[in-house]
Each structure stands twice: as C-alpha cells, then as structure tokens.
Subunit: 456 residues, 3 copies
C-alpha cells in the first residue's frame, strides 16, 4: 500500500465521498415521500408511500439491468456521438461509485411523477410507467446530456456549437424529465374526482381544495429534500477531474441562496397578490415550501457556474415561475396533487435557460477549465453577441420535452385504452389504501369503511 | 504540519470519514424510532419513543464503561485468542474514531429488541435488559467475530479453519444478536393482550391485527434506516487498511440492490400468495418495507464481498425468508410488534450463510487482500469442494445463537420471576403512555382515560 | 492537475467535507421544526413550520448581505481588534466553504427563538426580529468570539489575558445568543393565553399544560438535531489547520457521551423528584429529550477539549441545569413553548463555563497546538491557580448576555409598543394557522372554525 500513488489515493477517497453524497441523494426519496404523505388525504397515504418505496427499489433494478447501459454504456471506449449506449447491460459498468451515484439520480427522476398522479392512479399503471421511465426515458436523456457520447453533452469531444449544453446536476435531466412525464400523465389521467368538476361533470366555479393530512410532514419532506440537495448539487462535483471541493462549495452556496430566495419570493409575491384580491394577507406555507423547492430545481443546472448574486436572482425568478405556472395549471383544470409540474417541469426549464444567461467565466474555468462560451450577460459585457451556450441550453430543453412527449404520451394513451390507468370511481372515493392495500386507517373491519374517509 | 507524512494525513482524513459514517449510523436510531412510532398504537407511542432515545443514551454509557473493553480491549497488544477483552474499562481505548464508530453499532443492536417487545413491557425490564445487552451480550459477540482476538474472527492471525467467519458490517454481530434476544424475550413476555387469545385465554380463530398509528412514519423510518445503512455498510470499509473508497462503493451498490430486490420480492410474493388465497391482490406496504429491511440485513455481512447479481439474489431470498418466518411466528403465536425477528434474526442468519455461498474471489481480494477460502459457488466453479468459509459462517451463527440463548433466556426468566417483565393487564389496556409516563394523548385529565384508547 | 501540491489537494478535500458537515447542520433546521411541530398544538402547526422554513431562507439572505461582513469581513487582512467587520457586504467573502458552513450556524441561532415564542407571536414581529438577529445581533457575537479580530476570541493574535475565550462550536455564540434572545422576547410577549392566568387575568393555582400534538415528531426532531450535531461539533474541526480528523473524532465522542448523560440525568432526576412529590414514578420522555439536547448544547463549547469522563460530567450537570431552570421559569410564570431557554440559554452558559473548568492540556494541544491556559481542574492539579481561561469564558458569557440584552430588549419593547408583537386574543384562540395562514386543519369552510380547535 505504501507504493500506491497519491493520485490513486485521492481517487479512492473520492469514491468514498461518492458514496456519502449518493446516500444523501437517496435520502431525498424520504423527502418526496413525506411531501406526498403530507399533501395527500389520509385515505391515500399508504398508496403514496408504497409508490415512493417502489421508486427506490424499482429504479435500482432497472438502472442495473438496462438504465446504466443505455445512459452510460461504453462511454469511455468510444468518443462517437450516439443516441444510446448499448453495452454493459445487467452490470454496474466499470465504476461502482459512479453507478451508485447515477442510480440515485435516476430514482429521483422517477419519484417526481408519483406525487402528481397521487390519489387516483392504478397500481399496475404505476408499475408500468415507473419501469418505462427508469429503464428507457430517463437513460436516453442522461445519455444525451451527460454521457461523453451524448449529442448535446458538454462532455462530448466535439460538443454541439463548440459548447454543448450544461446541466451540472440535473435541472433538465432529472427534474424536467420527471416533470414533463408528470404533465402528460396527468393530462391523460384527468383530475381527481370533485377537484374541478362536480358529480354531474359540470365545472365547479372554483376548484375544491383537497388539504393534505399533515402540513408538518410536508415541511419535513421539503427540508429533507433541501438537505439531500446538498448531496445532489455539490456531490456532482465529484464527477469532474479536479477542484472537487472548491466546485462543491460553490454549488453549496448557490443551492442555499437560490432555495432561500425562491421560498421568500413565492411567499411574499403570493401574499401581495392575495392581499390585492381579498384584502387579507395570508402567509402561505405551501407557497414558501414549493418556492424553495422551485429555487432548488432551478439552480441545479447552474449551481457551480453562477455567482452568488445570480443564484439569488435565479431563485427569485423561480418563485415567480412557480406561482404563475401553478395558477395556470389550475386555470387549465390540470390536476397536480403536489404541484410537481410547476416545481420540477417549469423550473427545470428555467434552470436550464438560466445557465445560458448567468454562467460566469470565472466559475466555468474553475469547474470545467474552459470558458469560451459563457452566459449571455457575460458575453454582452465582453461586447460579444455569442449565445452558443444559451442556444445549446434551449436545444437541450426542446430535446427533453420532445423525446419525453413522443414516448410518454402514446404510452399513457395506451395504458388508458387498456383500462389500466385510472382507478375506478368507487376506488377513488373510498381511497386507494382500502382499494389496493387491503386496509388503512379508514378500514374499520371486513368490508366496512369509515364514513368520514369517504367524504374527505 | 508541512512535515506530516502523507500516511498520517490520509489517516486523519479517514478519522473524519469515520465520524460522518458513524453519524449516519447513529441516525438509524431515528429510523427505528419512526418504524416503532408508526407500528404501535397511539396509546404506546411515548413509551416506544422513550425506549428508542434511551437506547442511544444507554448504549453510549455502557459502551464507554464496559462494552468497548469486553469487545475490543487490548486487541492491538496481543494476538492471543480470548473470549473477552479485559482492559480499557471506562475508556474509549486508543482510538476516538474507532470508539465512536463501534458505539453506533452497539446502539443499533440494542434498539432492535425494543420494537418486538413494544406495548407490553415494563420500564424496569427494559432498563435491565438493554444495559445487559449493550454491556455484555453484544460485546462478547463483537469480540468473537470482529476483534483481532476473536476465536472465529477473520482478523485473527490464525483464523479458524484458515478462514474465520466474515461479517463485514454485522448481519450476525448486530442484527442476529439483537434479533435472537428479541425472540427469547418475547417468548417469555408473551403476546399482547387480545392478539392471539381472547379475554378468557382461549385462542382466537385468527390473530387480531393491531394496526399502527401512522403508516407514513413507518415508511419514513424505513427510508431513514436505508439511508443510515449507507453509513453502516460502506462505512465499515474504513476499518480496513486500503482501498476504502473502492470497498465502500462496492458495499453501497450491494446495499442498494439487495434492499431493492428484498422489497420487491416480498411485495410480489405476498401479492401472489394473497391473491391465491383470497382472490384479491393486495399491495402490502408493510411487506415491501420489511422486505427491503430484510434485504438490507441480509446483505450486511457480505456487502463488500459479493457481485451485484449475487446481491440481487441475496435480496430476493431475504424477502422470501421474511415472509415465511413472519408467517411461521404467527402460527406459533409468537407476538412481534414490528416483525423485528423475521427481519433481523432470520435474515441475519441468512446474511451470514450467504457470505459462505456468494463471497467472490475478486471482491475478497479487493477487500481483504486474500481469497483463499471463498463462497462455495466459486469453490465449485474452481472444481474444489472447499467449504471452509461456509463452515465458519455456520459456526459463527451457532455461536451467536448459543451464547445469546444461554445468557438471555435465564435473564428474562429471572426478570419474569421477579415480576419486573410484563406490564399488568390494566396498564397494557390503558396504554403504557398513561401507565408509565403520566400522560399521552389518551389522558384527558387527572385519572381519566379516553375510552377509545382503551378499546384500540 | 498533476502538479497541484499535496497541500492544495488536502485543502480541496477539506472544502468538500465542509459542505457535507454544513449540510448536516442545515438539516438541524428540520430537527427544530419537528421539535416545534410536536410540541405545539395542532392549531399552530403551520405557523411554526413556516417560521422554521423562513429561518433557513432568511438567514441565508441576511448572512449573505450583511451577516458575514459584520462577523468575519476582512479578518484575514488585519490583525487589529475590532467590534465588527466592515467589508465584504453582499458577498460570500474569500471562501465559499467557509461562508456556507458559517451560514448554517447563523441559521441555527435564529431558529432557537421561534420555538419559545410559538403560538402567540405575530408574523410581522417574527420577520423583524429574525432579520435583526441574523443580520446584526448574531454576527457581532460571532465576531467577538470567532473572528481573528474579536476582542475575546482565542484566534486573536494577542488574545485577552493571553488566553481568549474558547467556544469550539458555539455553546455561547449560537445557543446562548439564541436562548437569551428568546428569554427577553418571551418576557415582553407574555405567556400563552390560559397557561398561567385565567380569563380574568388571575393566576392559576398550577400552570395549565398544553400538550403538543405529536410526541413522535418531537422525538424525531430531537434525534435529527442530535444527528446534525455530529456535523455541528466535529465539523467545526475543519476550521482549524491540522489534525482535523482527530479533533473531529474527539468532538464526536464527547458529543455522544454528553448527549447521553444529559438525557439520562434529566430523566432519572425528574423521576426521583416526582416520585418524592407524588409517590408515582413517571418516566418523562420530554425530560429525557430536553436533557439530551441540554447535554448537546453544553458540550458544544468544549467538545474537542475535554476528556470523555468530563463529557459525561458536563452532560449530567446539564441535565440538572435543565430541570432546575425549567422549573424556575415556570415559577416565574415565564412561558416557553418548547423549553428553549433552559436548553439553549442556561446550558449555553454552563457549556461556556465548563470549558474553563475541564479543558484538558492534551486535547488543547491536539486542537490548538497550545495549552498554556487550561481548565481549572488541570491548573489546580498542576499546583497553579491560573484561571485565565475560566475568566475569559465568564467574560464571554457576560458579553453575550449584555450585548444581546441592550439590543434585543429595546427592540422588542418597540415592537410591542407598535402593536406588532403579540397576536390578538381571538387570533390566539382560534390558532395562528387560521389567523395568518388562511387555513389549517381547524378550518372547515369559509369563516368557520372547528370548535375543538378553539378549545384545545
């Protein structure tokens, strides 16, 4: 051991740090679970919890069998640009720490969808789409943006437009992919019974709120997610060659600031709007929580690449993006039980775009060792009109949206056609816990159901 | 400082990583607490929570005063094989990071028992057995398997059969020891009132389910445990000389895969069985959660030593072991409030045995630098019939079961004889929170108790 | 990269560890939130949760804009002793990992106050005092004790009495500052309606207990805090030059032992006292939890500087300090919804003083490389009467109490005078969730409030 080179030793230590950061990301599964547990009604808690657990389990198996192969298979053997990797199936590939770390990202992407579809989706549909997402949809996106062979990846030896798209920790790959899947899924699944329409199918004058069963658990989930995000964003520095600590610390600072400003912006903007409308100022915890999560999603793509002031700006805008898109979805009568679409999809897009605007030359040098194509505010300040990075970011967004749409949309249409997607009306009424899980707090005995659970 | 050798610097960094991994293991106490909080009835929550907190507290004091001495005292001073260490009482020994890390393991072992005995055990019995377990039972097992002086330890200079038993992170030392204690304790303590017998003591036709008060907290606990397990298993790599990162990453991959396949196997196997019996397929969250925990327990002994495919197999089998043993305990009318015996005892045994079957030469070289005696599937593939490792694993299991039985059984019989073990019938009926803790949600005022808590 | 010096590589790794430890400290926000969620009544849960989230958000912004500048601005440019730093506003200063780590401490200090004032404080008052605390009060204290320019800091080139005060991880800077603010705030805010006085304002014969809504969440919060403390205390070793792992491990051992002995001491001392008074021994979970937290607060100042036996002693005394001061506050009819004043203020003082008593020469050499002035038990053992360290510790306590008093007291008096401090009586009665947040579990429809929430 004495003769082991220092590089090998440093590499070995980095492997250990991969495990710690990956564990923190894995822990985000608990965060998503608690957000769901808090946001759904008591009669559907067991159902939501099972889906969250199965996301962690299913993604591990799927990422082992095919996901890692499609996403990263053979990326160190060829520099050719490919659509998917086609080697290393049923394998963790050449590096155990890399596989573990990437698995936790894929599990995160999958779990975003479950919240949106909560309280009305059949178990069989869930099982199908989560396997499909973890095994195929997500890996293709990860390949395109993160693999050395990806067509839009900044790790490609000949990157698109000389720049390639930068998604440092996954605003696009993880959050947008999950969010856009959630959108198409809920479009086909339809809103929860009684949320936007009455029993006769006539639209309600205003949507019926379905208050979650525990705001404390929802807050816990939000904070667990934020904690895990410090593994998600700073941890991604480990994928790079040098300066991992410096890059990670920059990412941590941005993550703290954007989460903070997102929450504050959403809280007070909503307060102001509601006060104008109703005359009563209400401090909405749900707004603040989802605003913070929005800031975290948005900063994920650029956390190591933007200055602290820019992180604050990105966070503030993300709070506004959240409020506007959440409102818009309600107007469109698109039902999202935990507001995952505004948080993860719309702010995933904003996060990708924000890199094209705010990526600073200094941080890019520290992170990637190159800063030829930077965010446009810096290009303009240089007197240049170079927008290659912004163009790549936009293209990456379009690719993710397009790819997900052409695969997910027909898939859910097919599920729906087979009758496997939507719970039937009675199942939804009594709650999925009793319908699919043989019990739950609403079950009082064989075949009986508590009246108050049905009415909730 | 400039002259500090690189070895000393690396060693210092490892000390820091010990602290981080140890903290994650410590956090598993919260996981056990939430599993219990979710699984017990509301009238016993405070009681369960106090026991969990006291496990963390009591184990620290006990491991400082005597536990560390019995387990590891003087292990660097002599290579003789001993039954217990007899130096370093009331001391953390030569290494602070080592003491801290090992303390967190001892606390884990103790806390396994509390769940099984929940809802019917006196506080004084709890205090006695937890001190006894942390101070004597557990340290002797740790000494035998993990100390340089242990008779069955693979760290012994002259290991048993030239191999010694391998328990990388504690399927045997931690989980089996805790699980077997739980089994003997509940045998003497008896089932909860009304679980298997009616008020006249006649056996019920089927056991009465006692649904826990919060499935969300139980899921949270499961996920916290899984998170902590990434400190438990990969962290144990720090105890070895070199390649700590590589070993840790291998352990992390196995931990993810076995937990996943255990949960999936238990969920779908139970679904299939229930569908055959009742015609209705039910997705049981409790099965999935305990299946995952079973997979985690089983992989603990071999996490760094088996290939990913073997981790999947170990996990699947652990799910079956869980279902079969859980069913069996119910048939025997042995009451385990949180199913800790199937999870920790039966899968602790399976985990130990699985090392003897699946330990791969490659991983053993990476981990220990030797691979003379490997798992039998590899021995057979080599054309050898060497089963020294499997023999050692089996012997280690027998030792743990035997040692625990001869100490714990008389101990609990004695507690019972003194009348210190079982809560009296009325205490159990009104709930332990009111009986021992002067309050709780069921207390409405001085001397009054809410009727619904008594009936629950 | 090949030519990067080993020192630079080690420094880079330390930056990564700063992020991990900082993340654990950040996670303590969840711990405080769950302690509050468990300890307040259901009608005020949303209000408490929002304050906890805003602490994390607001502290990030405030510490970026002004806090870091006041506390640490320019500390590497001059060795002069100053009252506050006056450079690096709206900046993270020279080091991203340092800023991130210190931010998490400032957020912790702020969040201590919210618990004490729970259930009766207006949102506007909360917003004002939390900004004031994070932006000014806390940074001045941090400057005095932790900056190179602080007048009482042991990092000052010419420390006070040749020693300076030692507050390794913040018993004084973080906990005492937060605790003393909580005390003055509640003095002016007054007790919750019905806690000590009846509707006519006449004192009750005994205080009315307001049991929290979930003891399980309170336990979870306590354990999360303890977990985070292993980032808080050992993580602070990263601020020092060398031996970070060894120092961190010493800190971890002390943290485990003091938390353990604090909990045990408080539990059994309370048991004994109650048994003497009422004849019935009750194991109080709240006592055990707050006792453990007390031990953790008290050990924070000296965790790396005391021997394990001393950590046990400090913990035991902290349990007694908790019981005595909690009882005393009740006698004085000072209402503290989560007992934050006994835990953080009184034990913050005890923690600071305990360093002056127990700081050992060996540990001081390891930690700071000097051991001229040590704890008095060691001075006495040396035959010296040197009490310079104890004097500095005492002076530091007086400074913190004095500075906080002269700023916080008039500030809260002013808030009260403006009518911005206390919720009005009806708001408090129906609960702050409905009053300020437009809903909550007690709201059954527009304008209606559930009767049982008002009565609770």
């Amino acid at each position: 051991e004495i003769e082991k080179s220092q590089d090998a030793r440093d590499e070995d230590l980095k492997s250990f740090l991969f495990v710690l950061a990956g564990a923190m990301i894995f822990f985000m599964q608990s965060g998503f679970a608690m957000v769901c547990a808090g946001a759904v009604r008591l009669k559907n808690v067991q159902n939501s919890m099972l889906k969250n657990l199965l996301d962690a389990c299913g993604a591990a198996v799927a990422f082992f069998l095919v996901g890692n192969a499609f996403a990263f298979g053979g990326q160190f053997e060829t520099t050719a640009t490919t659509f998917v990797g086609l080697s290393e199936f049923a394998s963790i590939g050449p590096s155990a720490p890399f596989w573990f770390f990437e698995y936790t990202f894929s599990a995160t992407s999958v779990t975003i969808v479950a919240g949106t579809l909560a309280e009305r989706c059949q178990m069989v549909a869930y099982l199908c789409y989560s396997m499909f997402l973890a095994g195929i949809i997500y890996p293709v996106v990860a390949h395109a943006l993160w693999s050395n062979n990806g067509f839009i990846s900044n790790f490609n030896v000949d990157p698109f437009l000389g720049s390639g798209a930068i998604d440092f920790a996954g605003s696009g790959v993880v959050h947008l992919t999950g969010g856009i899947t959630a959108l198409f899924a809920t479009l086909i699944l339809g809103p929860r019974r009684g949320r936007f329409y009455d029993a006769q199918g006539l639209p309600l004058s205003k949507p019926k709120p379905f208050p979650g069963h525990s705001i404390a658990l929802q807050l816990l989930g939000t904070m667990v997610l934020w904690f895990g995000w410090f593994g998600f964003n700073p941890g991604s520095a480990l994928l790079l060659g040098g300066n991992v600590g410096e890059i990670a610390a920059n990412a941590a600072v941005s993550t703290a600031l954007a989460g903070a400003s997102g929450g504050i912006a959403a809280l007070f903007t909503n307060l102001f709007i509601q006060e104008r409308k109703t005359g009563e100022p209400h401090f909405s915890l749900v707004m603040a929580m989802n605003g913070s999560l929005s800031g975290l999603v948005a900063i994920t793509a650029g956390c190591a690449l933007v200055e602290p002031w820019a992180a604050l700006v990105i966070g503030i805008v993300s709070g506004w993006v959240y409020i506007a898109s959440s409102e818009w979805l309600i107007k469109l009568r698109i039902d999202d039980a935990v507001d995952a679409i505004p948080v993860h999809m719309f702010n995933g897009i904003w996060g990708m775009i924000s890199v094209g605007i705010f990526a600073s030359p200094d941080k890019m040098d520290v992170t990637y060792g190159v800063s030829k194509h930077v965010g446009c505010v810096y290009s303009w300040a240089r007197g240049s009109s170079d927008a290659a990075l912004l163009a790549c970011q936009t293209l990456a967004v379009l690719f993710i949206v397009g790819w997900t749409m052409v695969t997910v949309f027909p898939f859910f249409v097919w599920l729906n056609y087979k009758g496997w997607l939507r719970s039937d009306s009675l199942e939804e009424l009594v709650g999925l816990d009793i319908s699919y899980h043989g019990g739950g707090p609403g079950a009082v005995g064989d075949g009986e159901v508590r009246k108050e659970y049905v009415e909730a």
